[in-house]
Assembly symmetry: C2
Homo-oligomer: 184 residues x 2
DNA sequence: GTCTATATTAAGATAGAC
DNA sequence: GTCTATCTTAATATAGAC
């Protein structure tokens, strides 16, 4: 079994159950691979499985979110595309964020630096678009933080209420919030 | 050992590590009580320990947040007090939200209804203040959702970045965001 | 109410055959 | 690369003494 089919399964497990909530036995059941096979692919065990999952998720993020933010076109269009991709990534708020699940438990101490770097990269990418559009860099930075806060908060609320509505509404408002008074 | 001293320890453990990340052995170490003693207090095991922790947290929430929101005084003052209590509860963004940690893993399936009820109660309390202040109820509901989204998102971002700054900034802005154009 | 001791099941991980 | 079988440790949980 190639890693390209393995990693989406790992991604799904880790984001849904968190690092502490996933056992190698569960992974074995979900992938229909024996434990020994899993350890063949990932000699470092569960930690390496999450590391590989983070790389996989990072790659998706670069190819879908960061690439869109760095593309040509108006800021408004780029943010709109970003929202569409985010909605896809999180299944309109039904699926949790992998990075957010890693902020608690054992993962927090072990993978904290990776999470921090990922968030900072996302923040910088959003702020860069806003700076390009003419916003002062301090304000651009603040608004980028507000965007990620809105995204993460909407994911928690939607999942907690078991309703996509808050996430969908937040994604619909996000672009205009980001672009507000840009050319004012 | 009385439960009044036990529950704050449980609360701290569960919010930091999530349900799956806490073992009875860890609880035993943290409380300096033998496992058998813990099962004496909570015959239902770890699940009952979390149930009791949720009740404890609910009580704190009623006495501190809901009470303040239901008090006399201007909406602006009540929200300001709410923000102060929230900042205390989450140690300015250093501590995770218990309810948020329960949206993943095993806890999600078992405790989802409790989490949902708690969020709905919080939403209703905020929306009620806004309605009293003259906001149409649909808008009041939306703004209440935005407040919880801001709170939860700020907690994730602050913890992910290992910085209180986003949480502190968000709490500082929250009251005016909630009261915007109330008497316009 | 708390303890020691223990039963039972599941977890993380490896050896070695195919 | 995948399997069966196995090891070791940790998990949940209980029995019974004090």
């Amino acid at each position: 079994m190639p890693k390209e089919t393995l990693l989406p399964i790992l991604f799904h497990l880790f984001r849904q159950h968190g690092y502490d909530g996933v056992s190698v036995s569960k992974i074995s059941a979900a992938t229909k691979l024996g434990k020994a096979s899993l350890y063949h692919h990932f000699p470092g065990g569960k930690a390496e499985m999450l590391t590989a999952t983070l790389s996989y998720s990072q790659q998706w993020f670069e190819e879908n979110i960061l690439q869109v933010l760095a593309s040509e076109g108006a800021a408004l269009d780029r943010f709109q595309q970003m929202c569409d991709r985010l909605s896809e990534l999180y299944s309109a708020g039904e699926q949790p964020c992998l990075l957010a699940t890693l902020t608690v438990g054992q993962a927090h101490s072990v993978f904290h630096e990776s999470v921090k770097r990922r968030l900072e990269g996302f923040l910088a990418a959003i702020a860069h678009v806003l700076s390009e559009a003419g916003l002062p860099s301090a304000l651009a930075q603040q608004r980028a933080e507000d965007a990620i806060i809105a995204l993460q908060g909407a994911l928690i609320l939607s999942r907690g209420l078991d309703s996509s509505a808050p996430f969908i509404r937040e994604m619909a408002q996000l672009t205009e919030k980001l672009c507000e008074k840009i050319s004012g």
